[in-house]
């Protein structure tokens, strides 16, 4: 079954049972990419791990043989952060899928990294608790991957992203050393390793256990939907709501193209004549929610909303959210291919950036649908294209680069929640100076001196940065 001549595969088979070591070109094919399949590579071998001890053994093996180690969970990532390395081992933590304990008093759950995000909330529901970060892939993505990417979601405006909702973890370094970060105490001594690991994309170690904070389920949730005649008016309403002293649980925006696509796809009841809609969740104690509603509705009207509706019941709320959550597959029906990026900008610049995206898209003869976390300023322009057209991919890449660089220009960042991975490695050279890139690399070297963990992702080399900056300059 295995190509016995490969000493790495043989060594892996001494660590793991044979059925959890996968090698051979055909057999490793299902692992060649994450949810950004433009980037593919077949690993030398795949290791399916069931325990921390196995992770330690695989890490030591990679260190000893000096082979790259890429780790992944469910592979739902959107930035090729989990694309395998051709010469290395792909370590898959999804078989580590046990919820170890739920402590309703401490309001925490201790879980293995392969546990699926939504499973945690399901398991905690009996205690009236839930795990707040809810990326769109929450029915499939695993908590280990969420930590590696510092995943966000629709309800992060009020409840925070992954790093605000994890209190502790265990990390295996490339030396096979197990570090503990955080724990059950609300504060910790020493440097904040827990923060450092979040969003490190598997480049500092492999997470083998996560203690998440659980949140009491709000006793009431009300949803509003507002239609706007212009994108700019909707964007300004977002700032006005926050300025009025309300932090909604979710505050999402969709533009006309996204509305049209989702209406065709699942008929949520959005206004086809609106230039943009806002979807707003308000939650908390009943009186608190009522008071917030009394603030938000007039703010929407003053901001130029042509219609503001309240979801009549849970079924309608679910339908309105279903539209939002189906936006990607819906756009996929309108266009043979699509590509999504997630630059984040200060809220008051959303209108400017959306208008700029329109201008840039026209330059490359492409259409862009927008559906995004407006409250966080976290954009998700969906670039629609036909990959069969000769230069389509090239035009898409240039448009994406222009959009991301504009996000940096207005004081934002190239990625709010999807991660850098391989996909945005070039733009790191634009957002950061050489001194900053060198500082990132120094931190990586402190924990992974041979740069074996997920090499070539998240932090580019200085040579790569200089090359890309030259290239963009000559592009004009």
């Amino acid at each position: 079954m295995h190509s016995k001549r490969d000493p790495i595969v043989e060594a892996l088979c001494r660590i793991l049972p044979g059925d959890r070591v996968i090698s051979g070109c055909e057999r490793v094919a299902p692992f060649e990419c994450d949810a950004l399949p433009v980037y593919r590579e077949r690993p030398r071998a795949v290791a399916l791990v069931r325990s921390e001890a196995e992770v330690v053994a695989v890490a030591r093996l990679c260190r000893e043989w000096q082979v790259p180690l890429v780790s992944r969970g469910a592979g739902t990532g959107l930035s090729a952060g989990a694309r395998p390395d051709a010469g290395g081992i792909l370590l898959v933590t999804s078989p580590m899928d046990r919820i170890l304990s739920i402590d309703p008093d401490a309001m925490t759950a201790r879980v293995q990294p392969g546990v699926v995000n939504l499973q945690i909330s399901r398991a905690a529901a009996a205690q009236n608790l839930f795990y707040a970060p809810d990326p769109s892939s929450q029915i499939a993505c695993s908590i280990g991957g969420n930590v590696a990417e510092n995943a966000g979601g629709v309800h992060c405006l009020k409840y925070g992203v992954t790093v605000q909702n994890v209190t502790g973890l265990r990390l295996v370094t490339i030396d096979g050393e197990v570090l503990t970060a955080g724990g059950d105490c609300p504060a910790q001594p020493g440097y904040d390793l827990l923060a450092l690991v979040h969003g490190s994309e598997g480049g500092l170690g492999i997470v083998t256990e996560v203690t998440v904070r659980l949140t009491p389920q709000p006793s009431r949730t009300r949803m509003l939907m507002a239609d706007f005649p212009t994108v700019r008016a909707a964007a300004d309403a977002v700032s006005a709501i926050v300025r009025a002293g309300v932090i909604p649980a979710a505050l999402e925006m969709m533009d006309a193209l996204a509305i049209e696509a989702t209406e065709k796809f699942c008929h949520p009841g959005y206004a086809l004549d609106a230039a943009a809609i806002l979807l707003i969740d308000l939650d908390g104690q009943p009186q608190e929610v009522a008071a917030d509603m009394a603030v938000v509705e007039p703010v929407l009207a003053r901001s130029g909303a042509t219609r503001v509706q309240r979801a009549a019941d849970a079924a309608q709320r679910e339908l309105w959210w279903k539209g939002r959550k189906s936006a990607f597959p819906a756009v996929g029906r309108l266009s043979p291919d699509y590509y999504c990026i997630d630059g984040t900008v200060p809220r008051h610049r959303i209108g400017d950036v959306l208008e700029a995206i329109d201008r840039f898209a026209a330059r490359y003869q492409l259409r862009v649908a927008n559906v995004f976390h407006a409250g966080d300023g976290n954009l998700h322009p969906i670039i629609m294209f036909n990959g069969r057209e000769v230069d389509a991919v090239d035009r898409v890449e240039h448009l994406a680069a222009d959009i991301l660089e504009y996000c940096i220009e207005v004081g934002g960042t190239i990625t709010g929640e999807h991660g850098v991975g391989l996909e945005k490695i070039d733009q790191m050279a634009v957002q950061f100076s050489d001194a900053e890139i060198a500082q990132f690399l120094a931190v990586k070297d402190a924990l992974d001196p041979d740069r074996l963990l997920n090499p070539g992702k998240l932090i580019p080399t200085l040579a790569h940065c200089q090359e890309y900056r030259m290239l963009r300059k000559s592009d004009g």
Binding site: G160, D175, P186, Y191, L196, T413, G416, M428, L458
Partner: protein, 354 residues
Amino acid sequence: MAERDCSLQLQEEVERVLRAAAAGGAAGGLAIAGGASRTGFNLPLGGHRLDVGEHRGVIDYQPDELMLRVRSGTPLAELQALLAAEGQRFAADIPQPGAASTIGGAVASGWDGPARAFGQSLRDSLIGCRMLNGRGEIVNFGGQVMKNVAGYDLSRLQVGALGTLGVLLDVSLRLLPRPECSLTRSFLVPAADLPQWWQKTRSLRPLISGACHRNGRLYLRLSGRRAAVRPLLDSLGGEDSDFDWSALRDLRHDFFSAEQLAAVYLPRGAPPAQYSGDVMVDWEGARTWVAGGDHPALQRRAGEAGGFVRVLRGRPTQVADSGRGWQRRIRRAFDPQGIFNPHLAETCFTGGEV
């Protein structure tokens, strides 16, 4: 508000020390000082002083962004007033132990007030920083937006690093609207009954913003919309109280003048411990202030329960570097010559290493 950008002078000073070190002279080290208001809490200023207190002023404050970018030497008191005038506050409950306390000192020390237990933590409210590293370079991490995963999160790493990784120049912090009201009730509760109360306080989320027990009285603070806070208070009973939460947050309460003072941090839900000495229970029991206690004994017992002790007055307990020296390696990544606050680095981060 006074404004002055001293970035370049601070950079020159760091470069001077680096040149001296390169020339084979004693590096000596720089003791970074803001308002020096924490020196009485086991954060002494040693060596050659690098004064950041003059580097002050607001760089960017737009109320509808809920974000404040400010130079690190700006006094907290001025910032609190500025935010209050716009109906806003920090998203963290930031201690201000003296009138001169600066925002940079607050971030570097990483202390949190009583509302930390209810979601208002400093490390979660820092969204970016600009700093001087130990190579004398000015570098920027994070930014002005809430969600940002470009590169490692090196700004959050500065919270509580006590300036051992570099000199903070500017910090960007998340803000929140001020609650419509904040009201406190007190209850006669023997210490032994506290665990049952902590189960009850769970149901007060998200309105609860303080839970402290002192001298047989439990104080609970609720913050939010008046229409929500009032009925909840009525259902709780107890007596109205004017408990001074800012005196607790800022360590200005008489209790904190003790000659031996420590904070014991325990996992939530850990069984309550018996302490010799005067105590004040904070954070629903997850943090207990102990005045006049036996610090080595506290440390031993907290360790057994999965917690730790921070000594604020009295002989500091050394924090051992867990694992094979990763803290030392992280420090070297920022400050290869070890010039920033070397005395604090040894006591609080890299001490005890073999």
